[in-house]
Structures are given as C-alpha cells and as structure tokens.
Amino acid sequence: MSERMYPGMSPDERTTFAPYSAFDIPADLRQLHGRYDVASVAKRVRNFRYAEEWMMMIMGGWVATVPEVPVKTGIGKVIWEGAQAADEFGKRLPELRCGRKAVEASEASNDGFASFVQAVAEPETPDLTIEKLVGIFDVLKPHMVEIYETTMRETDQISDAPTIEILETVVRKTRRHIAWGQEVLDRLCDTEALRERRRARADELSERLAASGGVTGTLASDRGQLN
C-alpha cells in the first residue's frame, strides 16, 4: 500500500504515521488533576493580586519618606515589577470564569491578612527604613514566594499551565527583589542593636502573618500538605 497522508472514512483508510500519545515527544510525566479547581485558583489569583497591589502602593508611599537615595531608586523598580505582577494576575481572572471586568479584582483572603498588610504599611518616619523594608523583604515577599511555589507545584500542571507561566515570571523577579532588599537590610543593620531591631520586627510580623493564614488564608493546611 502506498503511504497514506490523510485519514479516509473506513479503518483501512488510516494514515501510515506511527501513533504517539500527546506526552511522548518529548517524554512528559505530568498528570491531570491538581489540588485546586477553577474557582479555587481564581480565588488564589485574586488574593495574590491583592498582596502585589498593596505592596506596590505601600512602597509608593515610602519612597518619599526614606532618606537613603539607593533605597528610593531601588524601590522604584520593585514597584513597577509588582504592578506588572498584579496586572498579569488580573488578566488571568477573566480566563478563570470571573467575568471580563475581573481584571481589577483584588481580594484579601480574610480580615486578618488585610490587617497584617496595614501593619506592614505602618512605619512612616525617615528613621524607620529598617522597619519598612523588613515587612516587605524579610516577611511578605518570602512568604509570597513560598505560596507561589506551592501553587505552581500543586495546581493542575496541564489545565492550569497559564497560571504557572505567570507565577514562574513573578517568582523569578520576586526572588531578585528579596535578594536586593535583604542586601540593603544587611548593609543598614550594621550593629547588633540594629540587627535586633530587624529580628524583632520580622518576628512580630511573621507571627501576625501566620495567625492570618497568609495571603491565601490557608497557610496551615498548605504547610500540612507539604508534610
């Protein structure tokens, strides 16, 4: 029989190409079914957008009240990349059956997390750069990376791949933000007393964050799942 390029109407009219599964070339071990359904991922994305939007706004408020010029300029870039993250999360929402107007939908997981965010925003005067940066770069952003990575690992790898793609970029940039912020903090906290200030602020906020259940309100069960 000559090589057949296109299938016909009967079994003997199949093409001559070898059969492959959608996962054979290259070998793909991903499996269907993740921990979250469409509605849960949509809620998570709204929660993520809330945190990114607020971090951006808070740092916007601080630029004028931190005296260190490199902190002002460095924060300028972190603000822009935070805005881009929030924007990408917003654009994902209509794809998750939230309606076309959902692109601007941010939602705190609960009142505890909203109040934690306000505690991060609290430091105001120019002598509090350490307290300001600790809230974002020692506590909230590392927490966000943890939850983003958990989400990437546990969501449906095939069906929810667009969310994973967004998170991959956001995680890469957030890791860079953390490295920058912590380097600045290391430099600013150059005495034991200042290092203690940094630790005290981080401990206080971390406790509040854990009590709220984190950005998605599910910190305890997320960590339980990991164990």
């Binding site: 706004m57 630029v63 300029t73 924060i75 300028g76 603000i79 120019p126």
Partner: protein, 317 residues
Amino acid sequence: MKRFIEPNELARDSRFIRQDNAMATVLASMPDDVDAIVAAFEQFSPMIEESVRGTAAEELFEAYGPAFTLVVLNEPLDPDSAAATMRLILRMHGIFVGELQALEGAARSLWDFPDAPWEFKMNMARQCWDEGRHVQIFEKLLEHLGGHVGMFPESTFLFEAACSDDPAMRVAGVNRGLEGLACDVFRDMIRYAEKTGDEVMQQAVDYVLADEITHVRFGSEWVKEFTKGDPEHLKKTQDFRREVDKQFSFGGSRSDREDAAIPIAWEDRKEAGFSEEELKDLAAVSAEGPSKETLTQAAQILRDRFHAKRSGEGAPS
C-alpha cells in the same frame, strides 16, 4: 501611613541642604520693574546667603551677590560663557533633585489615591521606575562633570507646586507642568552637549527626554479621563497647570521669548500631547515675567551693592 505629605517631609540623607521655597515664588511673580526686583532680592539676601553657606553655590554668591540665581537662570547656557562648567553643574544638580522629587511625586500618587483606576496606577508605577533611573543617570552625569550630590541646596518647590490632593491636578502639575518643563530643559541640555561634543551626556539626556515625553503623555491622557464630563473641573485643572507653568518659567527664563535662557521645546511637547492652543497659552504665560534687560540691570545693581557692602563702602544709591 497617612495620605498626603508636606514638602518638608521629603526624607533626605546628610548630604542634602534645604533651601527656602519663598525665593522661587518671588521669581515666579516678579514684575518688569528693576527697583521692585532689587528690593525683593535685598529683602531675601540673608536667607539666600544662609541657604548657600557651605555649598558650591557660596562661590557664585560671593561673585554675584544675592542675585546670582538671576544670572544663572537668565543667561542661556553657553560653553564659552564665564563659569560655564559651574553653571552646568548647578543646573545638573537642580535636575537631579527635580528627578528625585518627580520619583517621590509619582510614588506618592500610588499611596495617596488608592481608589484611582488600575491603568493610572500602572502608569504611575512605570513612572516610578523611570524616575528612579533618571535619578541614577543624573547622579552619574553630575560625577561625569566633576560635581556631586549635595553640593548645592535643594528647593522643594517642585514637589510643593505640583502635589495637589486632587489626582487630576496632581497629574496636570507633575506630568504636564513639571515634566513639560523637563522636556524644555533636556532639549536645551542636548543642544549644549552637541556643542561641546559630550556624547555621554547627549545620549543619556536624549533617553531621559524620550521617557519624559511618555510621562507628559500619561498626564495628557489622565487629565482628560479624570475631568471627563466635568468642564468646571477641567477648567480648574487647566488653571492649576497654568499656575505651575508660570512658576516653572522662573520669570520668563523658560519661555518662547527670543531672549529666553531655556526655549520651549515645541516639537517634543506636541509629541507628548500638548495641543497648539495649549502651547500658545504656555508661551503667553511664561513670557509674562520681566524682560531680560530689566533682569540684567537688576542683577548689576545687586552685584554692585553687594560688593560695596562687603568692602565696607555701604550701598551705592
């Protein structure tokens, strides 16, 4: 953290010295009258002297007296003019602190207006990154010219003039007034760099100018959006921008007059969304200050009186 801050709350490290903003207001409202200008500067002389003490501007004060700002602002920057490098560094320093305040203004818009539309926040966030880069660029250019941060006092009148608690007025002031002035100044700096063959400065400022055009465009679009369907609000916003423009014209030094030290960059402004009508209005508003001849005469009298006083002769009448 509270919404809206005062200009004196802008945080600075120990290199910076503040200058009273009153002088900028005086410059913006000077009449075309030699005696009135001399009287105003003499009144502010102790304050001006205090603000330049210990900075590189002290040298200019000693040379020209309290009217040194008139000389600096009124004469076009020419590589062959006396003290051209010091004047260039003074201008560069002014731009550096202006960029710093523009960064702070854009960033505060994110915090001060939490309910603003998302696209507005995106534009302001982008502006934060851009202005942050501009601060870095002008710090490098200052060093490139032999200057350094803090060598001149900083006036916060840009932040004061432009930071309204109404978002439409804020963008009209910051993005159209302040950033529009930046277009004029940067075009002038590019011309200067071309004359001196300074390719580093020419290229860097050209990139910054491209960013500023984008920021003015943000302003043009958001003024329209925030005042849509409200002609009274639009008029108030335009009046506010006009006030800011007048203040940023430094008594006609930035204007469309033939003798202007900084000409209006018509083509760049058109690309940024200014209409022909708005530009004509700007030309009229900025030309309202005293003539160059008046300022030159006033500066000469002030310099003579200052030197006479310094040498113990008393002021010549």
